[in-house]
Subunit: 243 residues, 2 copies
DNA sequence: ACGGATTTGTTCGTATGTATA
DNA sequence: CTATACATACGAACAAATCCG
């Protein structure tokens, strides 16, 4: 039973199909799906494969499974684009339906401060590539970004305009960002940054400090982002873990 | 092939065993586990069952699996106590090693505003039970809390001092909070709240607006919490989802 | 550079357990 | 009690990624 030239595996195709059926309205919120046996037969896959798809859909909050009752399309709008889902700033802005832009203020190799050495696990005398820039949404400045990358993974050519650091690292630097640990803070007013983001003393800034790790759990990017609080908020899905 | 009177399923037992082996030091961080075939044989379960256990352990960040290479005990300390893990304010304060306290400013049934009706899915004319209070850590005020609960799930007796809303609802209200959707915002200064929390115009507030849901996906608690930004920050584990 | 060995990923079929209506 | 539906479990086969000689 060969899959032929299929690059996407079957359970991913099932996930796509079910999501698509929800989008199109063929599957309604709250609706009960056919039993796993019937649905598997209808979709032409084994029950194991269907269950793998349903497991992931449940994890994503798309469906709810109840033992002995059935599987249902979730009534609630799924909490997309929460902060726990790692995306680049570019994606964040574009998901708002706006055009993401970039203005680079500074970009060069510099001597790291003690904190950088610690966070990025730098070797002695290793430099960091520092980028300071302003991100714009539909032309107006909304985020001030400081990115620090260990010198050994930065290719020789400097960073391009309008380029996501994510894409830049993955295309040029031969690393893949896998996850990040983030801390959310806030600051009332910053002499320099508030001015650049064109916001007055009344409107504070949200700060997202992130350490990004690659597939080998090595830190590859430390970034500090200042968001205009009147333009951004972060959403989180909080799960109960202790019984 | 009966499981006998086993109440805990096999894959859960495998999870327990592996976690225990890590605790005891028998399995070291970064160590490679035997191949799935060998390990399954050694543990006396099928590869399917072992994989189900490994899947969950990977989800929890305990192990890392690499296609074609093997499965490893995670080097990194698992990211505990991030904001995505739903805990009560009481727990948050106590995890900092401080004594959690409570000062109730207001508590009574009131007419809901339009937003409350929407968020809490209230019936016509249904009141909400509103609680305003200051949470203290080691005696000093750190969080200002506004909690709103639909009248029909609030028992007749009013809320006790020093009691967690979580515990209160679960003990008296016969509901179990399952998850919450949260939005993180910030505000520079609030005439009334900043004064109560004893912080000046310079230090902003972090705001956590949460809708809590019970096991049946019904909203049971809407709470707005104002945190002193110099005392609190939120951490999040951000996962990459799109290849 | 190639090929085989190893290891995890995917998929199938089937059987039995357990919760719910 | 019985039927239905999801949960757990086993065994087997092949695919895909990686590693090593």
């Amino acid at each position: 039973m060969s899959l032929g030239g299929l690059q996407r595996s079957r359970y991913l195709l099932i996930i796509d199909k079910i999501k698509q059926d929800i989008e199109s309205g063929y599957l309604q919120p709250g609706e009960k799906l056919p039993s796993e046996n019937k649905l598997a037969k209808k979709l032409g896959v084994s029950r194991t494969t269907l269950r793998e798809a349903l497991r992931i859909l449940e994890e994503e909050g798309v469906v709810v499974r109840r033992h002995g009752i059935g599987t249902f399309i979730n009534k609630k709008p799924v909490f997309y684009n929460g902060i726990e889902e790692l995306t680049s700033i570019t994606e964040m802005i574009e998901k708002e339906g706006k055009v993401a832009g970039n203005r680079i203020l500074f970009s060069d190799f510099v001597t790291p401060i003690a904190q950088d050495k610690d966070v990025l696990n730098l070797k002695d005398d290793e430099l960091v590539f520092l980028v300071k820039r302003v991100r714009t949404a539909d032309g107006s400045p909304v985020i001030y970004c400081i990115d620090k990358i260990p010198a050994h993974i930065v290719p020789d050519d400097a960073i391009q305009d309008n380029e996501s650091i994510f894409d830049f690292l993955e295309k040029e630097g031969d690393v893949t960002i896998n996850y990040a640990t983030a801390v959310i803070e806030t600051i009332g007013y910053h002499e320099e940054i508030s001015k650049i983001l064109d916001c007055d003393q009344e409107s504070p800034l949200l700060i997202l400090k992130q350490t990004h790790f690659d597939m080998n759990d090595q830190p590859v990017l430390y970034s500090i982002n200042f968001f205009r609080a009147d333009q951004f908020s972060f959403s989180v899905f909080r799960k109960r873990v202790n019984f």
